[in-house]
Symmetry: D2
């Protein structure tokens, strides 16, 4: 594990990264009122305040509790209140009732964060070269970054429930220049190595690296845009059952979905339907035809692809294609494609694949409560690849496997075609 | 309508009462944080902030809009956001989603209140002797007083969802002296006049006054206490279907009810079940056997009465007995009986009757949206009589008809036996 | 209880009546296939076969088991399978799963009936003058008559689920002559005696007879017809919330009700909506404007009355008016009014009242399992008076109290206006 | 397509096979009463009568209607009544209401079958060498064989709802000899060809044959037995969340699953729990420890495998291993393993794999309504391989892909371990 000097330097770096990531969570809550931070718009979403507390609970429970000599919990009730899904840790507050936790107040949760941060800093200073501690801190920070993205998508969903359509960010979005039609980028495929190869951090679900045969394929050079998708809507895509998976058509037939989640069609004049708008973190904006379509379910992505005579990529194809693509970071709303070649792989929208979320051959979950992190969710979910405009800097890899149920729409999900 | 002098005096009095009632709503919210005021614990309950806004909306919509010369709404979206159930006014924000209205913030709602109060004061000063205006103001204030009670019971329900059991009021409850067994107070009955007789305010559902034959009956001299009810619980009252109405037993059999809503049985020691406590607006308190049992459904009240070989009163019996009883006001939690004779008719707990909520013979709802106030709810609800510890001063009458579904438990409901 | 001769004669009469009532149940099933007799169209309805078995279970459980010297059950499992709701008897087969009881077969249930009938006949012959036995037999027969009506309404509901609209009876309905507009029949009211007065049979819920004050009122001389009700439909009655109780409007707004249950509007020509038809036990028939509207909920009856500027009667008013009206029997579908005066009180449609189903003053349920017959259902149900075209001969009284939830529509329910 | 002689011979063979398969469906219904054939025990299951009619509808709709010169439907309503899920054909009778179709009677459905069989025979005689017709007939027969298996599992589910536990077959099951512990059978894997290779029939979901890399693996030499699984139950397998996928644990925690679907634990003596029994098509039988465990969900299969330190196979592994295994046919209940080597691959229980049901690379659904056969269900389902004791003779292939949701338990599903 390196020389003492290297280890001390690693400890300092770890502490610095800890401070930066932790500070960013608080920063993300700054545009919001205590009320905004408390409400829960649906069982799948969590309050901002809960995200701030739960990520802190992670450090307190998995690092401070077993390692602090004189450990005492910040508040004994928080162990239950802010446990998400770790059966190994004990009881949990019921998920659909997180929005009823008006106490502790936002200020109390910020005090909780400050206390745990102080104790974590002390612990890191005491053990600058403990690799097991460093690994747990790294996991805690990656976990917090996942919640930073969820915090943004959850608060977007909450604000979208209001007829006032309040903006998270004041600045309006600029209109984009038109984009060209997508090209097909071909790949030879072959017997490929799939999954993470060290030395950096990866989640257990990216391991082990293994061989997989990938037949020749092509990916679209850019994401599907609002303009592309509007053609599908206007051509009656939501009225033709032959385009849809049976489960998706059931939703369409029940009237649950008829356009992307945040598209809004408001009356412009008394007689007649208005132009499409899109609710964004910048508030309600005219639908920009050049930006990627986002907040679609796998059902919609699949139906759109079928309508275009194409299909969705598998996750192995996507990873094969992305291996040498430079990581890009996003800006809280997907941007129009600019570059040539294989564009928008990272930093705009998560890209639905046709691959169900399953363990890689040889996958083994960690022992204890942390083993619940990923493995137990490998059922009835589908893999999304890439990253989104809400993914934090430093949280992106070509091997990263995000996953959601096929009907989920409140993440920044988009469509890349394959054939 | 009196001399000009009398009318001017009435105008001043109306303005003064307006200010007092309106101020009390704000006062009730003072112990609460913005988060406490925003959350909604169940579809039947509303956020405190919503109560503050909706009562204001009532004055703005039914008084200012038709009477202000240059009427402009405080905010155009509020007409829909804060409409409760008046189809005649137009669209409504969906009731189960009131807790997602993090905007407008509490401060904005308080500004809304101040603006409407200012404009109402101006209108009242301009029309000091307009009897129709005075009647509408009176209705608006009575409406606001109803919401003051709901505000308290709704926030109690919200706070009860937290494992922290936070108190609305800091001061603990004092233990009560023991109370004697109840006596039976006999009434001759006969052909009685039931319903409101002027001149004071009454809701339309208390009218018209009409004749009803009441057979001889007796009422218990006091409410059923926690101690009385605990005997029922410990005797297996919740395990014997022969005591229950079929719908009530269904709830018991599904495990939905097994004790009054806010009773809590916490472990005192590791081995064995603890003593009963009760969640109150003063926080969690030891169950006081002398205080009235409260937060019970009609199903529980009926089963308890059957177990005691008694029954619940009809609303006519209750009104007949209450005609000459002095009004008393409450103190946010029911108190033990003190006086002799027919005690605790007012100011402690609403008393379930066996009477369904139905129109009096000759009842006619008002025209227009205000006609939706009462009549359309006269189905599948049961009448409660008296008033509770949360009923505002000045909002109590012997002819008052409160009503809730048989399963409702979050109001201050209690039990008075009859035979 | 009379002389020995009278008692012997009463015993013979009891046995004869037993045979007639029991035989009629079997007769009612004759037009049906074993499959028709097995299916259950909704949890509120029961299969024909279940009715045949449960009424037999009643005699076996409440008469043979305690009185037969060498009692052995016909089949030990039937005690649970065919218990409806008597907690005092023990476990029950879940109500919504009655339609899955393909075994015992219809033939086996008919054998069960024959066996119990034979043993009942023997018991009645052994105890010709036992008044307690006679009373239980009478209760069992009245119970069976109630199930005969349910059998007909349940099988009508089942047949209505089929797109083939099969008829229970082959003969088509004849068109009726037009009927005149209804007149108002006035009653003075006063302090009236309400409830059953001996010596004949009555259910416990018709007792005790008691005094009630009835203000002067008027009843419509006939039931509301299909033609009357069609005016309400065509005038937009189902689109105006001001006509409806709030719960009823919720159903309308959700699209659950938009016309009487069995009205069908079929395309006559490719372009345009067809004429109204009505599904009857005689199959699909053209809607006859002269016949009474039937299969409406209390919500619809109430809204219709409000639209006509009238109201529904109370049950005391209805009984007051019906005291001297001759009983008439029906013919499996309501017929147009023929006579003058107060017509159609019996034998056409049950008439919704505005009275909730509540115990009469002094009501006491019987001890034991039979005490569950009526009392435990006295909550959230409304009283219907009269009788219907499906009520058996000999099962009608002016004091009879039928009861159903406000939303029930599959009985032969109709509307009589009051004011 | 061969010489004229070969073609004529093929036509005769086709007609003979048609008659045999069609006759077997009728034969399967023979032990059942008309009531047994009509009832529907849950929305996922269909009545026997519906299976008999729907398979007939398939031939009438997809073969007779486009090919018969003077086509007239047997009954115009059947087109809707017996359409399962083909949007391309038009409306469908709602699936959960199939059990309410008491009409047409079973006898009428048998007449429908006879009529379509007669017309099919005539058509086949007219076109003895039409390869497109022969392919459609083959598809229709394969479709009918699928429904023969469903008919058996659906009727088993129905009979299991009855407290009488009626048997489909009279003969009791014989006890099996004990079986040895399973061995591991190793496979090298490699770049394998997966999917059907002609010339025989295959469903579109088995195509196209394609390359897939399979890492070295091992399969258990036999299926998991009741005895094996009982160890898991008795060791608390249903009480340990760490063994379960999160969705599966939710079901366990809600009390929905605690043992295989048809295991029954009846009281043998008044005090204490009885021995395990198993409901089978032969009625209730003592649980045979040597027979394969069956009627388990994927959740249970996965938890069991984890508890044994093993895993479920992928579908590619299973197919790789099964390539040279001889097909065996079953006997309506799984039998104990007899042979050495890789036993029980076919004819006992469908074997859950960890593979989600997804299109093979290059999969293309057929055009028109028949394209709805498989493709639209490729979401949130998991593949099962092999065949079961209820799979018809001639309906088994190593490349066959059966699929059900992870929670489905009413099929003959079992467990084969991999590592």
């Amino acid at each position: 594990m390196g020389t003492p000097y290297e280890r001390a330097a690693a400890g300092v770096e770890c502490a610095a990264e800890f401070g930066q990531v932790r500070q960013r969570s608080v920063h993300l809550a700054e545009p919001l009122s205590p009320e905004d931070c408390c409400a829960q718009s649906m069982p799948d979403a969590s309050p901002v305040k809960w995200h701030l507390a739960h990520t802190t609970w992670f450090f307190e429970t998995f690092i401070l509790e077993p390692r602090e000599a004189d450990f005492r919990p910040f508040h004994p009730a928080f162990r239950v209140l802010f446990n998400s899904y770790y059966n190994g840790v004990g009881d949990k507050h019921p998920r659909p009732q997180r929005g009823l936790l008006t106490r502790p107040a936002l200020a109390d949760v910020l005090a909780y964060r400050a206390d745990v941060d102080r104790r974590m800093a002390r612990l890191l200073a005491q053990h600058p070269a403990d690799p097991e501690l460093a690994a747990l801190v790294e996991l805690g920070l990656q976990h917090e970054q996942q919640h930073q993205e969820l915090l943004l998508t959850d608060v977007k969903h909450l604000l979208a429930q209001s007829p006032l359509f309040p903006a998270y960010l004041d600045a309006p979005l600029a209109a984009s220049a038109p984009v060209a039609a997508p090209a097909w980028v071909d790949f030879d495929g072959g017997l490929a190595e799939i999954g993470h190869r060290g030395p950096g951090f990866a989640f257990d679900n990216e391991l082990p690296r293994h061989r997989q045969y990938v037949a020749p394929f092509a990916l679209a050079s850019r994401l599907v845009t609002n303009g592309d998708y509007l053609e599908f809507v206007e051509a009656g895509g939501y009225r033709d059952p032959s385009l849809w998976l049976a489960e998706g058509w059931d939703k369409v037939a029940r009237g649950e979905i008829s356009h992307p989640l945040y598209w809004v069609q408001r009356d412009e004049v008394a007689s007649g339907r208005g132009a499409w708008q899109e609710f964004t973190l910048h508030g309600l904006q005219a639908l920009d035809p050049a930006r990627p379509v986002t907040h679609v379910s796998l059902y919609e992505a699949d139906a759109y692809a079928r309508w275009r005579g194409a299909r969705l990529p598998t996750e192995a194809e996507w990873e094969f294609a992305a291996r040498d693509v430079a990581i890009a970071c996003g800006d809280l709303h997907p941007r129009a494609a600019g570059s040539a070649g294989l564009a928008q792989m990272f930093g705009e929208c998560w890209q639905w694949t046709s691959s169900s979320y399953a363990p890689y051959p040889g996958f083994a979950a960690a022992a204890g409560a942390l083993g619940e992190y990923n493995g137990k969710f490998m059922i009835n979910q589908y893999v999304l690849r890439g990253s989104s405009c809400a993914t934090p800097h430093g949280h992106t890899r070509a091997t990263y496997r995000n996953f959601f149920p096929a009907g989920a729409r409140w993440q920044f999900t988009g469509i890349r075609l394959a054939r």
